[in-house]
């Protein structure tokens, strides 16, 4: 229990960020028209690809004889990049079509 309390006060900054971000996330997309649901989902999907940064850090810190970290880290970098790059490109392709119809 004390651990948890210590953890909360040691990370109060992070906890504030989490709470504020929850509200920002809800506020930001509050009035999205239904035609944009799918592109928005896809765009958000690309944004959570930010997890690749964690994979990069693992990879970069791994000692050269730690094969588990190297292999899993490499795999994580590849998968995370797929998420980021594929996500943004697919979203762009969806939105490209929205733009065309206005012109």
């Amino acid at each position: 229990m004390e651990n948890i309390l210590n953890f909360i006060s040691a990370n109060k900054e992070i906890i504030y960020i989490v709470i504020l971000m929850i509200f920002v996330g809800i506020e930001v997309i509050g009035r999205v028209p239904s035609v944009l649901h799918t592109p928005l989902m896809s765009g958000a999907n690309a944004i959570h690809g930010v997890v690749v940064i964690g994979a990069i850090i693992i990879m970069g810190k791994a000692e050269s004889d730690n094969y588990l970290a190297l292999i899993l880290g490499f795999l994580a970098v590849v998968l995370g990049t797929l998420n980021v790059v594929g996500g943004f490109v697919v979203t762009d392709r969806m939105l490209e079509m929205f733009k065309k119809k206005k012109g």
Partner: protein, 472 residues
């Protein structure tokens, strides 16, 4: 200096994510918003690679591995995203989402191994790292569920995985979840039990499969959106772990926005999230409410008659559905629209918000064929217009025009707003067969006296109609 620059990179990343997401929710700025977020992501990633320093001040190593991974993932991701057909985009999103979840799960595995080595060597005390283990376990469970669930959703959307439900399934699912969480809690309590981590990994994957398995294919967009927000939370766990603000903000932002988006999607179908997750809509529950009712007979219409009726109409409303997308008939549909307009027929499209397999699917599809924006009517507008229409041409849509949603309180889609096509003078329905739509229920519309059926693949049928209309 480097670490200050990195802080600024992360700040730029976080801000572009928020503004990008905001811009994505408005049609005029959506594309720029996506590019802005991508730009911020690029800055954050490059910043991490070149500026990140550990507590001991060391830079990252293994650059060849990192760049190799980035290159491989980048090339494969771009190619996959560029090559994918419009109809397959939702499953592509699901696939990418799964990759993100897997990435988060792998991070947890590696970090836990690192940690348990430190515990063994006595560098850290097992009791002190409990909060860290908690975060690792959470990231592992959420990431794995998201990965396995997304893969199943992907399989369902491209028809490789069939719906599977049996009695007691919900109880079994809850049981698996409870065991997973209990195992997770025990590992947090006693971090030295490092083999337990793999048990949790396995259980979470199983739960992910079980979670999505019984949910009908028609509900996959909602499920993908939910899993999307899961992956967001898993990414945020990574942010906690590394005290990395951009991962944290990005992850939580997507977690919150994704959850709201999921709820909004459910609302567009006039259903609750709980109903989607444990309800049977779209599942293979046999014996629909209309099953025992005498349906009467439907009548067919020939191609030339259909062409004739439309050529002499004043106003034609086209209702596109999944059938149009599957047949890739959007171009020939636009062609028909142009030919009819040349003959002085007014042609509009009625777009149901959930027609097709994803919200906005039809807009995207018709935009691809250069159908002008003004011709697409939203549901409310279209419903006002149907009474002035001579002909409604339904192309592969079914559940979104099913009057049971209004009339039959026992129907699983009761309450969903529909396109009220029956107010038009004539309804022509193009379908491949009399098979029920995705919700698995009969459609009374097809048996009404106003309605005539025109069986066949949408593209083929439309091509033939175009030819017929030209010769009228």
């Amino acid at each position: 200096m480097g670490s200050h620059l990195l802080t600024i990179c992360y700040l730029i990343g976080s801000i572009t994510f928020i503004i990008g997401l905001k811009m994505l929710s408005n049609p005029a700025s959506a594309r720029k918003g996506n590019l802005l977020a991508a730009f911020g992501m690029g800055i954050a990633i490059l910043g991490t690679i070149f500026l990140y320093t550990s507590e001991t001040g060391e830079h990252l190593g293994n650059y060849h591995w990192i760049f190799g991974g980035l290159l491989l993932g980048g090339v494969v991701g771009t190619l996959a995203a560029k090559k994918v057909k419009m109809t397959a985009m939702p499953e592509m999103v699901s696939m990418f989402n799964g990759m993100g979840g897997a990435c988060a799960a792998l991070i947890s595995v590696v970090e836990f191994n690192h940690l348990s080595k430190e515990i063994e060597e006595g560098i850290v005390n097992g009791g002190d790292v409990q909060p860290t283990v908690l975060i690792i376990v959470l990231g592992l469970i959420i990431g794995s569920v998201s990965f396995a669930g997304s893969m199943i959703a992907w399989g369902k959307l491209n028809g490789k995985v069939k719906d599977l439900s049996f009695t007691g399934q919900n109880i079994l699912n809850l049981l698996v979840l409870a065991i997973t969480l209990a195992a997770g809690a025990y590992l947090v309590y006693d971090p030295t039990q490092h083999l337990l981590l793999y048990a949790i990994l396995g259980l979470s994957l199983i739960y992910g499969v079980f979670f999505v398995m019984p949910i009908g294919g028609a509900d996959m967009p909602v499920v993908i959106s939910l899993l999307n927000s899961f992956t967001g939370v898993a990414a945020a766990c990574g942010g906690f772990l590394y005290d990395n603000k951009v991962m944290l903000t990005g992850g939580i932002l997507v977690g919150a926005a994704g959850t709201l988006l999921t709820i909004l999607m459910c609302k567009a179908m006039n259903r609750s999230l709980a109903n989607v997750l444990i309800g049977s809509f779209g599942g293979n529950k046999s014996g629909g409410p209309a099953g025992d009712k005498d349906q009467g007979h439907y009548k067919e219409i020939s191609l030339s008659d259909a062409a004739m009726v439309m050529s002499y109409a004043n106003k034609v409303m086209i209702v596109p559905g999944y059938g149009l997308a599957v047949a890739q008939a959007q171009h020939v549909c636009h062609e028909l629209e142009k030919i009819l307009e040349e003959k002085g027929v007014e042609v509009k499209y009625a777009i149901h918000p959930v027609a097709g397999r994803m919200p906005g699917h039809m807009n995207v599809l018709l935009a691809e064929a250069d159908v002008p924006y003004e011709k697409l009517l939203e549901m409310e507008q279209a419903n006002d217009e149907f009474k002035n229409c001579d002909v409604v041409l339904i192309l592969g849509a079914n559940d979104v025009v099913n009057p049971a949603a209004k009339n039959d309180a026992t129907s699983p889609i009761y309450g969903m707003p529909i396109l009220e096509v029956e107010f038009a003078k004539t309804v022509i329905v193009n379908k491949r067969s009399m098979k029920p739509g995705y919700a698995g229920i009969e459609n009374d519309l097809f048996f009404q006296p106003k309605t005539s059926m025109l069986f066949g693949d949408a593209k083929k049928v439309l091509q033939d109609i175009c030819a017929e209309v030209k010769s009228v």
